[in-house]
Amino acid sequence: MLNKTIVKLAIPLAVGALALTGCGSDSGSDGAVKIAFQGPLSGDNVALGENMQNGVKLAIEQANAKGDLDFELEYVAGDDQGLPDKATAAAQKIIDDEGVVAVVGPAFSGPTNTSSPLYAESGLVTVSPSATNPLLTDKENGFTSFLRGVPNDNQQGAGMATYYAKKLQAKKVYLIDDKTDYGVGLATVAEKSLKDAGIEVVKKSVPAKTPDYSATAKDVVNSKADALIYAGYYQDAAPFAKKLKDAGYKGAAISGDGTNDAKFVELAGDASENWFLTCPCTDATVEAGTKKFAEDYQKEFGRAPGTYSAEAYDITNMIIEEVKKSGADVEREALRDALAKASYKGLTKTFAFGENGEFKGTDVYLYQVKGGKIGYQGNINELAG
């Protein structure tokens, strides 16, 4: 009897669900030109995604407010939680929305890897302000719709290694990746650069979401390393930093753009003091070119722009610039080809792409946590001397 009831209930439910999804797909017919963002808008590293989302939103709002467009711009959010397995659904949702002509993102390397084939197939261009794994622009992948708006981890990893070798004169470096595409990519490059500089390297993998970092911290201290590189995101870097402090680690510590967020300092507290953070991004609140942007951002969202906010803003403006040239009836493929060839001088840097959508440009910047704030230091290669 129970089975019959279930069947009776299940059929109308299933039909209803199908009907609903059917209705959902023709939402793109209202004529507006839409720009999407794909990144973590929920989940463990949501702060990194929101930084960029706000940049995109601000650019769209300002363009609409200016009034020189003969069409309306609209924002579409694609939440992938920063997870590769959630990324395809987020990408498909964006692709199915016919009004979307370009995507800012995906934000993280893992999700870029899994969703780029879908974008390539649909001809929808994605310009990432932050996905830094070097392999993403590999020709064999065939990610024909992927453009990278940031120097890749070959630069970031090498920058970390150079700084340790030349400036801090480290002898032995303990190198950790978090087993994500981003972490492994960054660590691999850093390891090679460190070894080339003649530094001894202990390389370990510590998967993200490890419940207790005490043993790892002890291992770092016991290894007698005088410097440490953590290649991963702030969610795990923070408890790890705490445990390092508890374990009595006295050496230098550095992490990349995945950790470069105020949230890292908030979660780790005192333990984050003196941590170095690298980023191919500049500090929008410090650099002269982005002062105005930082003020607008502060006014709009009630907080200072974070990592990659200004870059996402720039990329959105670059897309708007290209869309303007062809008007509201812009085609996805045409826009992709136009963007790939474009050169756009943004507030932060000039965006231009080389072969396979790789970013032209190599600047990486160094930050350091001082007095509970992430302080901007400058270009890492210049600082290393």
Binding site: D44, V206, Y213, K242
Partner: protein, 307 residues
């Protein structure tokens, strides 16, 4: 690994293991009385951590609280987590399991309900408290207090281990010396006969849930004190503690304590020997080995018998 390093990791392993043990007790208690794996227990643990966070945000310890104030803050946070854990577990039993029990639903339905409740609570917490991890405010200045075999122990670790041991001893006494404990043991052994003998089964079961929930909630606070609070924090420790409960013998309270500490030591020792990537693997290898050679767990099932 030098002898000193061995002691270092052993101490860390016992610390971590004591937390697993406290969570594992929650699984074992519920299994003992209902023969049900309460997969929502990891969410009881997670909500306990939020409970302590909410209390601490209300009282907001300043930057450098005095020693006495520190103890007060810790006690308040612990009470908050115990309350949240207990209420969640009680609610779970009342809403999710009792109706099934009334209708005599098959075992499988209980299990599916448990998983559903776990998903529900986990997403509800994300919705209510935000999906961003949050730090627990600092309640005291952490520093090294003493050392065992040269392995330094700081305040956080002392708090963690001390609380776990006190809770385990208290639970052992509760089960073996009190009327409620007698009831729990009776229901675990044979619910029907216990009912005929005048034991109020519903009452015993919901109190068992509350006891497990309080322990799980406090463990959530201790865990958050180590790391941070997030709505995803329950899953991994929950699964590990469940494995620990099975290793010790699910349904056996002392087995859960033993299994928890064993798994904690195995995981921690794996880090210097094989690397962090292998810690979950080694814990599961222990589980598989135990199941192969002693399917009832190392100490076997015995909530129903006088321990």
């Amino acid at each position: 690994m030098s002898l000193q390093e061995f002691w270092d990791y052993l101490v860390l392993g016992v610390m971590l293991g004591s937390l697993y043990a406290v969570i594992a007790i929650g699984y074992t208690l519920v299994y003992g009385v209902l023969q049900l794996i309460n997969f929502a227990h990891s969410e009881v643990f997670m909500l306990g951590a939020y409970g302590s966070l909410i209390v601490l945000q209300l009282v907001s310890p300043g930057d450098n609280p005095s020693a006495l104030a520190s103890i007060g803050f810790v006690a308040l946070a612990m009470a908050g987590s115990a309350l949240f854990g207990g209420v969640t577990a009680y609610g779970l039993e009342k809403v999710a399991y009792r109706p099934l029990r009334r209708r005599g639903a098959p075992r499988l339905i209980f299990l599916i309900t448990a998983i559903g409740a776990s998903f529900f609570l986990y997403n509800l917490a994300g919705k209510l408290f935000g999906r961003d991890p949050l730090p627990l405010p600092e309640m005291y200045q952490n520093r090294e207090v003493f050392s065992i075999f040269g392995a330094g122990v700081n305040i956080t670790q002392m708090l963690q281990f001390g609380t776990a041991v006190v809770m385990m001893i208290a639970l052992d006494m509760l089960v073996n010396r009190t009327k409620l404990g007698k009831g729990i043991r009776a229901v675990a052994q044979d619910a029907e006969v216990a009912g005929l003998m005048g034991v109020n089964i519903d009452k015993v079961i919901s109190r068992t849930f509350i006891v497990g929930g309080v322990l799980g909630g406090v463990a959530g606070f201790l865990f958050a004190n180590l790391n941070q609070v997030s709505y995803t924090m329950g899953f991994i420790p929950g699964i590990t503690a469940f494995a620990a409960a099975v290793v010790g013998g699910i349904g056996n309270i002392r087995g859960a304590m033993f299994g928890g500490i064993l798994i904690g030591i195995v995981e921690t020792m794996t880090v210097p020997l094989l690397g962090d990537e292998w810690r979950a693997v080694s814990a599961m290898v222990v589980l598989i080995l135990v199941l192969m050679f002693r399917p009832m767990g190392i100490l076997g099932e015995r909530v129903g018998r006088a321990a």
